[in-house]
Symmetry: C2
Subunit: 359 residues, 2 copies
């Protein structure tokens, strides 16, 4: 399968125009494009422009709102809960992080939940917004149920990512952005496209049997929590996925567990939903709310240098700092462009034709 | 090997007396005993009274302080950093959670870091202190380096637990308390004692080779991060362990990574330590800072009921809610007493003889 390489600026401009065409304000279109491009730059191809047509279908189906009236439903000096009015999470995430940063500026730290929202792209994009403010950023979201709890064969949780972004000074920031499942759905999709088998421990069949068949997920199978097997601690991955779900869903009044609305617009939303839409949570902490900024940065840089120097098993593969592969990918793609899978490229040109926007 | 069963009240009284004998105030002795007994009740035997002699040796070696002057070094309305003055974490954790709860009462949520501290027992004990206040509790700590980063053969991180405790009303609370390594050190010790092999994916040798030899850790081997293998996502466990280390160590000015002082008093503390002692972080959030308390509790109970009903692979093993096995263990041990390994019992009676305290 061929790849098409496109300059990131060009792709960004295209996405902005598409979002504006479907009714977004300039500000929201920019927020949407920034989030998607960040995913493509950082190499999280499953969460970038590959999803643009999916977002549009959600808008067309009335499950997402192009002109949302996002507002705070409840707040304290260090917390807020936001009704996203069915905005894309790409947009409501930007709103929520602004609220969180303002509150942390005032009182040291903040948590902001969002309900009545939709898929928010990559968690890292949102969490990293804290960094220029000398703040630590946290972002989590729940998602369509694909993962089974430890010992279950039922899809109950999304791949529910946790992201933590720590600012640094002379080194690059530490960005931990991790699904709480053993494998991200994106990796599975790649295996499906290539018709390759996957490692044991990623998925199980409808009956809860381990399998290496990448297509098992399409046949009512489920993803396994991080840890993969009982003896390797998959109850921990299940527990962390539950944490993300409760923070994102229960705490702010969004849906949770099997009630989280599916990303794909053709799947039905479960009746009797206990909450509203998809949910997220964002957290920020001012580093100088704990010690002198200088002291934090000196030790954060030292942390990174110390871990960079930890002895590798294979001398040719130095130990990586969390976030390093994604940053290196982004640096490369900023220079050389973003490689799009032919199917994704076709998808975008279809959108372009429909709206008369040139890619 | 025989077990000795002791009533929890009796064991609790003994631990209080021992801590008082070595110089603790009544309040601190009670906090210490509460934390250790909670571990033994909940079945986390490696973190309960089995460690009492270790704590005493830290006090005797001057690495821990029986009469600490714990104080806040910096604060904002929603944050504080605490100098534990080398208190045991059992004691400084109680102090920090009180500060956090008071701040969250005022402004909705709070984060409290602790530096210059020592081992804090089980994370769940601290996080659960938030529950009676209608608050979510978070507790993390770094610890003696035993875990290698993904692709490294060097011990750089502790088993660094994350704990999240969510209050509920008609159901039992959800308590996620998980090491970020594939296996807890306690489980490894059990295998060592029984001379049994361990699953592949728990540990590696000094050279970074996988092994099932439980004794490899004693021979300069290292524990593997949650995920165990590259293809099962052990970079995620490494990333989460890093998050705990940066929050616990870097943010509040404690040590981090390989600089965290070892729990055992006979191992030397590394020179040029960048921080002070062991570090922890505690977080609390008022549930009514996000929505009506009633709405939170209704949906939290529904979350638990929904996950309890998820379809098990084996019909005889219903799906567990995080924290359920520990709670059930505690209920049983409250009634029938706490089974102590003969070596632990001998250890305690030795202490009793030395201080003239009857177990």
């Amino acid at each position: 399968m061929e790849e098409v390489i496109i300059a990131s600026e060009k792709l960004h401009r295209f996405v902005v125009q598409v979002f504006e065409h479907v009714g977004f304000s300039s500000e929201h279109a920019l927020q949407g494009a920034n989030t998607l491009l960040d995913a493509d730059l950082r190499g999280i191809d499953s969460h970038g422009v590959a999803r643009l047509s999916g977002y549009i279908r959600l808008l067309e189906a009335g499950r997402a709102n192009a002109k949302p009236n996002i507002y705070i439903t409840r707040e304290t000096p260090s917390t807020a809960n936001i009704d996203a009015d069915l905005a894309l999470g790409l947009v409501s995430g930007a709103y929520a992080m602004n609220v969180a940063i303002e509150k942390a500026n005032n009182v040291g730290s903040a948590w902001v939940t969002v309900h009545n929202s939709n898929h928010f792209g990559i968690a890292a994009h949102h969490a990293m917004k804290a960094l220029p403010h000398d703040m630590i950023g946290i972002a989590m979201t729940n998602a369509s149920p694909l993962v089974a709890p430890a010992g279950s064969k039922q899809r109950m949780l999304g791949t529910n990512p946790m992201c933590f972004a720590f600012p640094s000074r002379n080194q690059h920031p530490v960005i931990v952005d991790t699904a709480t499942s053993a494998a991200a759905n994106g990796k599975l999709e790649i295996a499906q496209r290539k018709n390759k088998s996957v490692p044991e421990g990623w998925i199980q069949t409808e009956n809860g049997e381990n399998t290496t068949d990448a297509n098992a997920l399409k046949n009512k199978g489920s993803l396994l929590p991080l840890g993969s097997f009982a003896e390797l601690g998959y109850h921990k991955g299940y527990g962390l996925g539950a944490v993300v779900d409760i923070f994102s869903g229960v705490l702010g009044g969004a849906n949770f567990g099997p009630f989280v609305p599916p990303f794909v617009s053709f799947l039905p939303v479960l009746p009797n939903a206990p909450g509203k839409g998809v949910g997220h949570i964002f957290g920020v902490m001012r580093v100088d709310a704990f010690q002198e900024k200088e002291d934090y940065y000196r030790n954060m840089d030292l942390w990174i240098e110390t871990f960079q120097k930890s002895i590798p098993i294979n001398i040719e593969n130095p130990v990586l700092i969390p976030g390093q592969p994604e940053r290196e990918c982004a640096e490369e793609r900023m220079l050389y462009g973003i490689p799009l899978h032919q199917l994704v490229y076709n998808d975008l040109t279809e959108i372009g034709k429909k709206y008369n926007i040139i890619l």
